[in-house]
C-alpha cells in the first residue's frame, strides 16, 4: 500500500519563515496528482517533506498507513526527479540508474535486467554508456526518471519535470510518466506527483 497522507503538515524554517501552513492532502494509491501554484508558495518544500529531505515542523505524514515523519529518505522508498536532474556526472547513464540498486546490494544480473527495462521504456538504450555531460537536456531528464523507475518505489515525486525540456520533449515525456505507471507491473502502487509552474 502506498497511500500518502499529509495531516495538518506545517513547515517553519529556523529563521521563522512559514513555508507550508496546515496542509491536508490524501493521495490514494495509484493516483496521479499535480500541485499547481505560483512561485514561492511551498510546492517544493512540500515535496521535500514527503521525500524526507526537509523536517516536518508540525503535523503528520503517513505513507502506507505508517507515520513517516522521522523516517530517513531511504526508508520511505520514494523516488524523486529533481528540477535540475542531479545526475551523477562522473557515472555513465547505466551506472546512474543502477546506483540505488547497487546500494541495496541487488545481484548484478537483476540490476542489468532492470536498467535495460527502464532504458527501453525511456528510449535511452543507445545512450547507456555515455556520461551525463554528453546528453541533451531531454535525455538527461529521462535518465533522472530512469533512475527512479528502476527501483519501482512506492511513490514518484517529480519537481517541475518538464519546465526545462523543449516542448516536443514535454509532449513525449508526459505520456511516458503514465507509461511508467502501467509498465511497473510488479508494484502497481505508484503514484506520480508532478509539480508544474504556472
Amino acid at each position: 500500500m502506498a497511500e500518502i497522507v499529509l495531516d495538518h503538515v506545517t513547515k517553519r524554517f529556523p529563521d521563522g519563515a512559514l513555508a507550508v501552513k496546515d496542509v491536508n492532502l490524501t493521495i490514494a494509491d495509484g493516483e496521479f496528482v499535480i500541485l499547481v501554484g505560483p512561485s514561492g508558495c511551498g510546492k517544493s518544500t512540500t515535496l521535500n517533506m514527503i521525500a524526507g529531505l526537509e523536517d516536518i515542523s508540525d503535523g503528520q505524514l503517513r505513507i502506507g498507513g505508517e507515520v513517516a515523519n522521522d523516517k530517513t529518505p531511504r526508508d520511505r522508498d520514494i523516488g524523486m526527479v529533481f528540477q535540475n536532474y542531479a545526475l551523477y556526472p562522473h557515472m555513465t547513464v547505466r551506472e546512474n540508474m543502477a546506483f540505488s540498486l547497487k546500494l541495496a546490494k541487488e545481484n548484478p544480473e537483476k540490476i542489468k535486467e532492470r536498467v535495460d527495462w527502464a532504458a527501453d521504456i525511456l528510449d535511452l538504450t543507445p545512450h547507456l554508456d555515455r556520461k551525463p555531460s554528453q546528453l541533451s537536456g531531454g535525455q538527461r531528464q529521462r535518465v533522472a526518471m530512469g533512475r527512479v523507475i528502476v527501483r519501482t518505489p512506492n511513490a514518484f515525486l517529480m519537481d517541475e519535470p518538464l519546465s526545462t525540456s523543449t516542448p516536443s520533449c514535454a509532449c513525449r515525456c508526459a505520456p511516458r510518466c503514465r507509461g511508467c505507471r502501467s509498465g511497473s507491473a510488479r508494484r502497481p502502487s505508484t503514484s506520480p506527483t508532478i509539480r508544474w509552474r504556472r
Binding site: 521525500a51 524526507g52 529531505l53 530517513t72 529518505p73 531511504r74 520514494i78 523516488g79 524523486m80 529533481f82 535540475n84 536532474y85 542531479a86 545526475l87 551523477y88 556526472p89 562522473h90 546506483f99 540505488s100 546500494l103 541495496a104 533512475r147 527501483r151
Partner: protein, 276 residues
C-alpha cells in the same frame, strides 16, 4: 580573435624572456652539479669536464640518504593527514551551518598569515621540553598546522562547487551520508584533492625554517636542512658541486609531480568548470 603575425611575435618574445628567466638558474644548477670540482668557478654555462662524482659523493654520505628518507616520509605523512583532516573540515564548512563557523574560518586565515619564523624560538624550547625535538612528529605537526588553512580553503572551494542536489539524490537512492560522501562527493572532488595534496606536499618538501630549527641529527633532518651541513673536500673548499647535485635531486620529484598532474592542477585551479 585572430592574432596578427606581429602580435604572435610579441607573445613569442615575451614567452622566451619568461622561459629564460625561469629556466636559466635551474639549468645553471644542473650544469654545476655535473662539473668537475676543479672547473666549478670557470664561469661557463656548459660543463667543460663532465663528472658524476658530485652525485656519487652525496649518496655516499649517510647525511644525504638519511635526509632523503626523512624528507619523503615526513612530507607524505604530513600530506596525508593534512588532506584528510582538511577535507573533513572543508566539507563541514561548505555544507553545514554551525555556531562558530566564521570564527573557525577566521582563525584558519590568521594561522596561515602568521610568520613561521616568529614561532621558531618558542617552538624550539617547547619541543625540547616535551621530547618532540629532532623527531618526525616534531616536524609533521608544524607542517600540518601551516598547511591546513591552505588545504581547507582550497578544498572548501571545491566542495562548494559540487551541487547540493547530488547528495540529496544519493540520499533518496538509499545512501547513508558516508556512502554519499565516498561514492559521489569524493570522486567529484578528486581534482581538488589532488591539487591540495600537491600544494601541501610541496610546502612540506621545501620547508627550511622548521627543518633547520627543530632537528639536530639524522633522525629527522630533511634535505633542505641537510644541504646546509654539507662539507667540502677540505676546510677551504666550498661543497658547491655537492650542494648543486643535492638541489637537483630534491627538485626532481617536484618537476615529476607537476608534469604528471599539470592537467589536474589547472583543473583544480579553475574549479568553476564543475557543473552538476
Amino acid at each position: 580573435m585572430r592574432s596578427t603575425p606581429r602580435q604572435k611575435l610579441g607573445w613569442g618574445v615575451a614567452n622566451v624572456v619568461v622561459l629564460v628567466i625561469a629556466a636559466v638558474p635551474v639549468l645553471w644548477l644542473v650544469s654545476l652539479s655535473f662539473k668537475d670540482p676543479s672547473t666549478l668557478t670557470d664561469g661557463s654555462f656548459y660543463p667543460k669536464k663532465w663528472t658524476f662524482e658530485n652525485y656519487r659523493g652525496i649518496f655516499d654520505q649517510s647525511i644525504f640518504t638519511h635526509a632523503l628518507v626523512n624528507s619523503i616520509g615526513i612530507a607524505i605523512i604530513a600530506t596525508v593527514f593534512g588532506v584528510v583532516f582538511g577535507a573533513m573540515a572543508a566539507y563541514a564548512i561548505a555544507r553545514l551551518d554551525f555556531g562558530g563557523k566564521q570564527l573557525l574560518i577566521a582563525s584558519a586565515l590568521l594561522i596561515a598569515m602568521f610568520p613561521p619564523i616568529a614561532l621558531v624560538n618558542p617552538m624550539f624550547n617547547l619541543w625540547r621540553q616535551i621530547g618532540l625535538f629532532d623527531t618526525w612528529p616534531g616536524l609533521i605537526i608544524p607542517y600540518m598546522t601551516f598547511s591546513l588553512p591552505l588545504a581547507i580553503y582550497t578544498l572548501s572551494a571545491f566542495f562548494r562547487e559540487i551541487p547540493w542536489d547530488l547528495e540529496r539524490a544519493a540520499a533518496l537512492d538509499g545512501a547513508t551520508p558516508l556512502q554519499a560522501f565516498r561514492r559521489v562527493i569524493v570522486p567529484l572532488a578528486a581534482p581538488g584533492v589532488f591539487t591540495t595534496a600537491i600544494l601541501v606536499f610541496l610546502y612540506c618538501w621545501s620547508d627550511f625554517v622548521f627543518a633547520i630549527s627543530l632537528t639536530s641529527t639524522n633522525n629527522a633532518r630533511t634535505v633542505p636542512a641537510a644541504i646546509a651541513f654539507f662539507t667540502g673536500a677540505s676546510q677551504f673548499q666550498q661543497p658547491t658541486g655537492s650542494i648543486a647535485a643535492a638541489a637537483v635531486i630534491i627538485t626532481i620529484p617536484v618537476a615529476v609531480v607537476v608534469l604528471l598532474f599539470q592537467r589536474r592542477i589547472v583543473a583544480g585551479l579553475t574549479a568553476g568548470a564543475v557543473k552538476g
